[in-house]
Subunit: 204 residues, 2 copies
Amino acid sequence: MTESKQPIEFYFDFSSPYGYLMNEKIDALASQYDRQVRRHPILLGVIFQSTGTRPPVDGTSSKSKYMWHDFARSARHLGLPYTPPSRFPLATQNAARAYYWLNAQDGALAKQFAQAAYRACFVEDRDISSPEIVLEIAAKIGVDREQLATALQTPEIKAQLKDECEQALATGVFGSPHIIIEGEHFFGADRLPQIEHWLKTGGF
Amino acid sequence: MTESKQPIEFYFDFSSPYGYLMNEKIDALASQYDRQVRRHPILLGVIFQSTGTRPPVDGTSSKSKYMWHDFARSARHLGLPYTPPSRFPLATQNAARAYYWLNAQDGALAKQFAQAAYRACFVEDRDISSPEIVLEIAAKIGVDREQLATALQTPEIKAQLKDECEQALATGVFGSPHIIIEGEHFFGADRLPQIEHWLKTGGF
């Protein structure tokens, strides 16, 4: 009997550039170490409001300028395509709700949606805050557009996203991407080498 | 005739845990790519006040707890000893001034001092805000204690540290460790893989 390993918990906001980088890398890394990935799209606005944190990119400071530069350089470092989004930050509740609704029906399709929505935002520079664009992205991977449009308006799906944000906060999530492996927290796409080290050694 | 390469500019505060990690790693990396390292100890308090940034570790938030955990884990990841400092943050103007005074006379000795002061803080948990302890650390590596004690009180050395902080701000430095390679900025010890990638490829 093989011991079954807990999934890697992956918290992110669909408007987070480093979240996009992590989303592109985490599945291959997880599967290399026989792990599944459990995605939790959340709203950073809710997280920041509750923790009293300010968004890392908030104007024309040296740090903000650096971060815009670093988003693109980090993508190149990881060999990933990246286009600076012309709208930032974006409201991502529609994308997050679509994810949860899809995931309740078909985990693989939800994962495909997460990748498509992230690429729409950070490669194709599309406005994923728009419900129409979220529906279009979903339709392109085979989702029934009308069913999803209806689902996005239900109180159940709204409550689910709210719950996920609250649970993320209770778990100690404070940003995006935020990875948890059996209680061990890793914040940021730049923790990929440590995550790999951790998975390889079972903790160090 | 070989083209001479610009030194790697390394900005740090002696109370920065990630600065300690960078200080332990940057010289070997630089010399692997025929570079020198030019150190600039600065005062993060001055930087944060001017940029309106808050220190990343400032209480009992999820993020602060994570960062304390990550300091130690990052050290283990890099194979470095680390002891959580019992005093934090520390005033580091004495250590920074000692560095500049030493560096004006003997660059190798100043580098040795930087390493000794950082290890005193982050391995031996000593209070490097104390002028007495700074003098003791310097004396142990062969510095004349009385001469240094006098130097630390001169308006010249105080002005030099002030100038360095102002120049760091003007250059776009916003935290510690902050590395600049021919105008390319890298913030954080977690950028070591990107720094190596950059040095190896001449930019990517």
